[in-house]
């Protein structure tokens, strides 16, 4: 698969160079505008802190081993050049790139990689992807010579490769002397990446970076400078894009087609690839949400098409598949037998299902359970001010009213919202998949793996928000992680899909996307459906860094 990816990359490069027939222009500035997550850029450039804990330019300064495209699993080699699972998948050997230099001139070696991993083992506060957690099985990381890093495992865990390849590599000669790396702000970052930090202005929320002239990838990046800015509202970032004051925005206009593309279809491009799904979580530790038929009835009663139209103006990538698998992974991972399964809006079927488990409406039209007790009013939990979620909740509330189920919409501020979801005190909640990755495994693993689930209400559920576990799913997840054979892995995923379709542990609503808005006023080479070299991630991630080395003047 890796070789194929490389071939594709080479060919696409050749295609770009020959196909256009003219040389790529160098120079120019890439101007990024962020509207949402960043309130104020932190002046820390410590790459091991969580997203949002470091300046967005850090991903362009520090590189990871491989960029694994979460949409399709395609791998781009960065500091790693190849990898191999050995010894019944208990050992992973990664070859590192030769001839790479840190921006202070010191050569990069495999020892830096080993150092990075042992460093985050020593300081668990920096282990943001939990690669050293008790469930990961990772035992040791050592350099074998200048160009090989050996990862040893106590139990096979092949999917961990994705997380391992996503950790920014830091130089040993600098970080080994840092006393408290957790609060270290790293004001003079030394990395191997395509850009160098130039200056930042916290007052204006702007960060500037310049091209690294000694970058190992010859001829890249094309642009000379990065100008990264954050503003305090989504509308402002859209206005900046419309005024051509920015080339690229992580911006979520309510209706991106009308508000962005249609304003100038020649120049204004958008690519919102699906990377996640919106899910109506039903708290399976509360009755009647513990009854599979009841959950399925809820799923059937919701008009998902209407959610797509009203909450997203059709721009969210459509209705989610009932297995929750994102479109770009369906070809490879969706059981062909389940391809046409759907839970299309059908109040009548929902009603029949409810009748089959003894739930009936009383004379006032209220739904009663099998003991004849009227169901209480349930709360649908959403984040305060999240208009897409509130719109969906309004429609769901109306849909459920038809079944005789009364609901109210509970809008909570971020921390309260998340704490209700994690502690399982909610009834119904709209939220996303907690995990993402290049195969459905990552979604299912975070969503259903027992160690991430709370055994009773009040106990924290780290990522299994529905609080649903199933021995077949658990076994399938373990089978998947033990092997590097894609056929076995596929069978495992198929098994999970079947359970999800039968048992409806989650009610899938719509797809969720990344929000790439790109302007071709000055720069071209943005990712798109025809050239998905990354997933239109934000600039502060390895995927975003891919964009910075691919765009160029037009």
């Amino acid at each position: 698969m890796k070789k194929l990816a490389l071939l594709v990359l080479v060919f696409s490069l050749i295609f770009v160079i020959l196909g256009l027939g003219e040389p790529i222009k160098y120079g120019g500035t890439l101007r990024f505008i962020g509207g949402g997550g960043w309130a104020q850029f932190p002046d820390s450039m410590n790459p091991l802190l969580p997203e949002g804990g470091f300046s967005p330019v850090v991903a362009e300064i520090y590189e990871v081993l491989f960029y694994v495209n979460p949409l399709n699993g395609n791998i781009t080699d960065l500091l790693g050049t190849s990898y191999e699972w050995k010894n019944n998948n208990l050992e992973l050997d990664i070859n590192t790139r030769e001839g790479v230099k840190w921006s202070d001139g010191t050569p990069f070696t495999a020892r830096d990689v080993a150092f990075t991993f042992n460093y985050i083992k020593k300081y668990p506060a920096l282990d943001q992807l939990a690669v050293w957690s008790s469930t990961s099985g990772l035992e040791s990381v050592e350099a074998n010579g200048d160009n090989i890093v050996v990862f040893k495992f106590s139990k096979p865990n092949t999917p961990l490769f994705y997380y391992l390849s996503n950790i920014p590599i830091i130089p040993e000669h600098i970080w080994s002397t840092i006393k408290n790396p957790v609060t270290f702000k790293n004001e003079n970052p030394v990395g191997t990446g395509p850009f160098l930090f130039k200056s930042s202005s916290p007052q204006n929320n702007v960060i500037l970076a310049v091209k690294n002239p000694d970058y190992w990838r010859k001829g890249r990046p094309y642009v000379d400078k990065l100008e990264i800015r954050a503003v305090k509202s989504n509308t402002t970032s859209l206005l900046m894009l419309l005024r051509h004051d920015a080339d690229w925005g992580d911006c979520t206009p309510a209706d991106p087609k009308k508000l962005w593309v249609d304003k100038d279809p020649e120049l204004n491009k958008m690519w919102w690839p699906v990377n996640n799904a919106n899910i109506l979580y039903l708290n399976t530790q509360k009755t009647p949400f513990d009854i599979p038929e009841f959950r399925k009835a809820v799923a059937l009663a919701i008009d998902k098409e209407s959610l797509v139209e009203k909450a997203y103006h059709g721009s969210c990538g459509g209705v989610a598949h009932p297995t929750g698998i994102i479109p770009s992974q369906q070809n490879e991972w969706l059981d062909p037998l389940l391809k046409d399964v759907n839970l299309r809006y059908s109040p009548q079927k929902a009603q029949e299902l409810l009748t089959s488990i003894g739930f009936k409406k009383n004379s006032r039209g209220e739904l009663m359970d099998s003991d004849g007790k009227v169901l209480p009013t349930y709360k649908i939990l959403v984040g305060a001010g999240w208009t897409d979620y509130i719109t969906m909740a309004q429609i769901i509330s109306k849909n459920l009213e038809n079944l005789g189920i009364k609901t109210v919409i509970d809008q909570e501020a971020g921390s309260t919202y998340m704490s209700s979801i994690m502690s399982g005190t909610y009834d119904m909640a709209i939220c996303w998949w907690a995990g993402e990755g290049p195969s459905p495994y990552y979604y299912y693993y975070q969503g259903f793996y027992p160690p991430f689930s709370g055994s009773k209400i009040g106990e924290t559920s780290l990522s299994d928000y529905a609080r649903y576990t199933n021995p077949i799913i658990t076994a399938a997840l373990e089978t998947f992680s033990k092997t590097s054979d894609i056929h076995l892995q596929k069978q495992a995923i198929y098994a999970i899909e079947r359970i999800i379709v039968e048992d409806t542990p989650l009610v899938f609503l719509t797809n969720r996307t990344h929000f790439g808005c790109f302007s071709e006023a000055y720069l071209v080479g943005w990712p798109s459906d025809s050239n998905p070299y990354c997933a239109a991630e934000v600039i502060d991630s390895p995927g975003g860094a891919m964009i910075t080395v691919n765009v160029h003047l037009k």
Binding site: A39, P124, M240, G414, M418
Partner: protein, 328 residues
């Protein structure tokens, strides 16, 4: 002197109670900063990071509340507010030092201007209360004062910054000017501040106008004004030297309070114009349960308001002896 001592005791006790409330309130909110972080990034953050975040933020160790409280008081007394959680690992003091000057500059100056214009107009409309201009000015300012601030600011920003491009859309100064203290920079800062300042001034002036007008009319009916008129003093002298000077006193308490509250920033202005300042930082710190940052800002606001209040009280007592002997 006894009055002053009493005010000082009162000042300290109020401050202490308010500080304690500031400590307790945020800690009673459900959730923790790590969970807030997950919500803030709408699923972009791997939930496995919670464990690491808890260690980094120091919330994995459940210290008891009393110890936390002692720690909190210690921090206040030493002026070291620790490390912010929502802007981890920047120290709180540093974040404040970026934001406070802009807030003082924009909101402070706008408040003073609004107060000055409002007061002057108040004097004029009271002095010439029968004139048509007064009859027009007052309802206009009442209307401007009743507009939802953000609504007005959005329209202004859309029209003058986006459509007409007369003013910048975002930020506090241009990126293309040399660093340091120079004319170009000052000009750029002023240029960027015009729209946000205008919106604050336009919506705030009405309140000051009304207060001053009513005070002024009260004073104008006093005997000594009539006496001055009888003495044949020029109108301008009576208007400003006699009447306005006395009428402005009651406005001062409100003005002092307003100045005290300047430090809490102008959240909506900052959002609409993406202007730096303390309002947005306070807002984020509350939403993200960033206790260290939140508490530091609360403390500053309280000290500023209490001090302004205290000074206004003393000032008043100095000018109006009745206050000292009254029910105080």
């Amino acid at each position: 002197m006894k009055y002053v001592l009493k005010r000082i005791t009162f000042f300290i006790v109020t401050a202490w109670v308010a500080l304690t409330i500031n400590f307790i309130l945020p800690r009673m909110m459900p959730g923790n900063p790590a969970q807030a972080m997950i919500a803030k990034f709408h699923g972009r953050l791997n939930p496995q990071a919670i464990h690491a975040l808890k260690i980094a933020f120091g919330i994995d160790v459940q210290k008891n509340l009393l110890l936390q409280y002692i720690d909190y008081i210690k921090r206040i007394l030493t002026g070291d507010f620790g490390i912010s959680l929502s802007f981890f690992p920047s120290p709180v003091n540093q974040i404040l030092s970026y934001a406070i000057p802009w807030t003082l500059g924009l909101v402070g100056v706008s408040t003073v201007i609004a107060f000055s214009i409002g007061t002057l107009l108040g004097i004029r409309t009271a002095w010439r209360r029968e004139s048509t201009s007064s009859g027009i000015i007052i309802p206009i300012f009442l209307f401007l004062n009743s507009m939802p601030y953000f609504w007005f600011a959005l329209l202004i920003s859309y029209l003058f910054a986006f459509k007409l491009k007369w003013f910048p859309l975002v930020g506090a100064y241009s990126l293309n000017i040399p660093k340091g203290f120079n004319l170009a920079r000052i000009a750029s800062i002023l240029y960027h501040a015009i729209l946000p300042a205008c919106t604050i001034i336009i919506t705030a002036t009405g309140g000051w106008l009304l207060t001053m007008r009513n005070n002024m009319i009260s004073v104008l009916s006093d005997d000594y004004v009539a006496f001055a008129q009888a003495k044949g003093l020029p109108d301008k002298v009576i208007e400003y030297k006699y009447a306005a000077r006395n009428a402005i006193l009651p406005s001062f308490t409100g003005f002092a309070m307003a100045l005290g509250f300047v430090i809490s920033g102008a959240l909506l202005t900052e959002i609409v114009f993406s202007y730096p300042g303390i309002g947005y930082i306070l807002y984020q710190s509350v939403l993200n349960l960033d206790y260290p940052l939140m508490q530091a800002i609360f403390l500053f606001i309280m000290i500023a308001v209490l001090t302004a209040n205290f000074i206004a009280d003393l000032f008043y007592a100095l000018l109006d002896p009745r206050v000292r002997t009254g029910a105080e």
